[in-house]
């Protein structure tokens, strides 16, 4: 596979872009976005709806032309060589985008023809067997359930053995079992050297990623290996266990230094970026009979923090 990458392309970076910008009318949807995606990584795009995740993905695979910025995807220039990028990228859209009025086999066959694959029939047959849909090949795609549609869409994306998978909220509306299976498949592909860029707003999916970029209102707020994200944000967390956590939650929320109070099972996670202010709050509650202990902030706290703060961050940036 490595022989396909043209000479001169950075071996480690499958996607390397800087300053990517896109305006829709007067609205700036993506604002000077930089990213470096290493080969074989699972890179998560997180952010609220409308934050520019889909637009960014579309620019990366040549569906949209950026208004500003440059870079390469699979070693090809994203502005001038969109056609070459499309040949080697598997793009799974947010909405099911195969033909509902074509059968499962017809859909796969159509996609295979779009990529001009050799041994088309065998490849489609194989994909049907892998999917476990060989005996339902004649069924219309529109009659499949959400989970099956998603598996079919992924199979269609993989027909041409792409080196890079762009998945735009692939598990929206899919049940937990199917989601787990889906992620097993993604992990397996990444193990084979396929690079995966996936957008999501599910926390349990974000923790599966090797790298994470958090985007809000077109701007990248945080970017790095998943384990470093909480440190990057500088979040301090205290874990509280004891009686009447609901009452405590209401009591803590308005206090200075407390930026986030989240319930995790039988404990309350109290977080903030101002360690000194948070410590004062903890000291004031020291004798209330509950167990307080400091803990390294996890990805979960970090995501809740990012999701909740997206608007504020953006307002601060804009001011």
């Amino acid at each position: 596979m490595s022989g396909i990458a043209p000479a001169g392309a950075a071996r480690s970076a499958v996607i390397a872009v800087t300053g990517l910008t896109k305006d829709f009318g007067a609205k700036r949807v993506v604002d000077h976005f930089d990213i470096n995606v290493p080969r074989g990584a699972i890179y998560g795009f997180l952010g609220p709806n409308g934050s520019g995740k889909t637009t960014t993905i579309r620019m990366l695979c040549g569906l949209l032309t950026p208004d500003d910025g440059q870079g390469t995807c699979l070693g090809f220039d994203i502005r001038r060589e969109a056609e070459r990028i499309k040949e080697q990228v598997g793009y799974m859209t947010q909405k099911f985008s195969l033909y509902e009025d074509l059968s499962i086999r017809e859909n796969l066959d159509f996609v295979a023809r779009m990529y001009r694959l050799d041994r088309r029939r065998q490849r489609v047959d194989q994909a049907l067997v892998d999917l476990g849909l060989a005996d339902r090949a004649k069924q219309l795609a529109g009659s499949l359930s959400g989970g099956w549609k998603q598996r079919l869409a992924l199979a269609a994306c993989l027909l041409h053995a792409p080196q890079l998978l762009l998945l735009d909220e692939p598990t929206a509306g899919v049940d937990p079992k199917a989601r787990r299976d889906f992620w097993d498949e993604i992990r397996r592909l990444a193990g084979q050297g396929v690079t995966v860029l996936v957008s999501t707003h599910y926390m349990d999916e974000a923790v599966q990623c090797d790298f994470i970029a958090y985007i809000a209102y077109g701007k990248k707020l945080v970017d790095g290996p998943a384990g470093e994200i909480p440190r990057q944000i500088g979040l301090v967390t205290y874990k509280v266990e004891g009686a009447d956590l609901a009452g405590l939650e209401a009591e803590l929320k308005p206090l200075p230094g407390v930026e986030q109070v989240a319930r995790f099972g039988a404990s309350l996670h109290v977080s903030g970026t101002d360690a000194a202010a948070l410590e004062r709050v903890v000291e004031a509650h020291a004798g209330d009979g509950r167990r307080w202990r400091t803990e390294e902030a996890g990805l979960e706290e970090a995501f809740i923090y990012l999701m909740a703060g997206a608007r504020d961050n953006f307002a601060r940036d804009a001011a």
Binding site: I4, S97, Y99
Partner: protein, 391 residues
């Protein structure tokens, strides 16, 4: 998992600029979808026949057997010939005689008769003497369409009757103008049958309607359902998608036209007098214009409903301003200008010229030129808009 073992790895070669295989795949896909969409498929084949029946049989701008009363104040071979001629024309159904103007007017007012024909005293003698007597026809003009054709035909009928009866030295009189002001030439449709005129025109309307609408809807459907995003993420080129999507509807246009021509011949006895080549070229150009128009609409419409509405919006001028419903020359100047921009106007003329008047390629040059200009304008605007909508 064993995919890698069973099959050789996918070879990634730079894709050619244009691929027949991809174009053909889009084409085949479009046909499968067309076949599965039963309602649309039925509409494409059923619509021409249905419209033909409706317009051909139901709409009759030249009604016959209109109730007529007659007041005869003179008798002789000429009067009898006129009355017989009128009855034979099938326009007039003689229901009886009236005596005096008041009786005739009452019948008209009550609607029991559409016409009252009064043959004045000494009519024959005055004709012979060259005095050009007036043959009075009182007509109920509250419905102009109902009586227009009959009134117009009257002059010819009377002239014919006079020609039959008058012979020898009186023959010179037969050619004289009758005292009627309406003159209509029915050179290509001597019987004045509406269907002969309306049926060929209907082809222009049916093609406008289905070609434009189906093309617009088919393209918009692709973006509305989100499948366009999948399509353009593959190496397929826009021109392969467009040709692949549009050509099936050219085929539909061919089928519609064949169905139409056969039905027009069998049901209405509409002749096909002229050059098949001229018809073929004109009809292909017209289909192209409509596909381009459908394509243009698809760049403006966000969903199938909008595409449908915009298509209907373009169809009304085709019906009203093209000369299909109302005579083109009878419209005010500004309406004629508007009508000249409507593709159906020119195709209508091509069809009438070729089918009814026996026209050939040389006769339709002007119309072909006009259609060419309209096509160029629509195509340029559509391409400009298409580029915008890609981003």
């Amino acid at each position: 998992m064993n995919r890698e073992i069973v099959l050789p790895p996918v070879k990634l070669a730079p894709s050619p600029r244009l691929s027949f295989g991809r174009f053909f795949a889009v084409l085949a896909k479009e046909f499968i979808q067309m076949r599965r969409d039963r309602v649309t498929f039925a509409m494409m084949i059923g619509l021409p026949i249905l419209q033909l029946m409706l317009f051909g049989f139901a709409i009759n701008a030249d009604p016959r057997h209109l109730p007529t009363l007659i007041e005869i104040n003179d008798s002789g071979p000429l009067q009898r010939a006129i009355v017989a001629g009128m009855a034979n024309s099938t326009y007039f159904d003689f229901r009886g005689a009236v005596h005096g103007l008041a009786e005739g007017e009452k019948a008209l007012r009550e609607g029991t008769a559409n016409f009252v024909v009064v043959i004045p005293p000494d009519f024959e003698r005055d004709v012979v003497r060259g005095r050009r007597p007036a043959l009075l026809v009182a007509a109920d003009a509250s419905d102009p369409t109902a009586v227009g054709g009959a009134a117009a035909a009257l002059q010819g009928i009377v002239a014919g009757a006079i020609g039959q009866v008058l012979s020898g030295p009186l023959q010179g009189l037969a050619g004289g103008p009758a005292p009627f002001s309406v003159t209509v030439h029915r050179e290509y449709n001597p019987e004045g049958k509406t269907s002969t005129n309306i049926v060929p025109g209907l082809l222009a309307i049916i093609l406008s309607m289905t070609m434009t609408m189906i093309t617009a809807v088919a393209i918009v459907k692709e973006s509305e359902r989100g499948t366009m995003e999948m399509l353009i993420a593959t190496p397929v080129r826009p021109v392969e998608v467009m040709l692949g999507k549009i050509l099936p509807y050219v085929f539909v246009g061919y089928v519609q036209t064949v169905v139409f021509l056969v039905a027009a011949r069998l049901l209405f006895g509409v002749p096909f007098e002229g050059s098949a080549l001229a018809f073929f070229l004109g009809f292909n150009l017209f289909i192209l214009v409509n596909l381009a128009l459908g394509f243009l609409i698809s760049t403006a419409a966000r969903n199938q409903m909008q595409a449908m509405q915009l298509s209907v919006f373009t169809i009304l001028p085709s019906i009203l301003l093209s000369g299909f419903m109302f005579p083109f020359a009878g419209m005010p100047q500004w309406a004629q200008w508007l009508g000249s921009g409507v593709p159906a106007t020119h195709f209508l003329r091509i069809v009438r010229k070729v089918m009814l008047k026996g026209g050939g390629l040389g006769d339709i040059g002007g119309e072909m030129g006009a259609l060419g200009i309209i096509l160029a304008v629509i195509a340029v605007v559509a391409m400009l808009r298409y580029r915008q909508t890609l981003d």
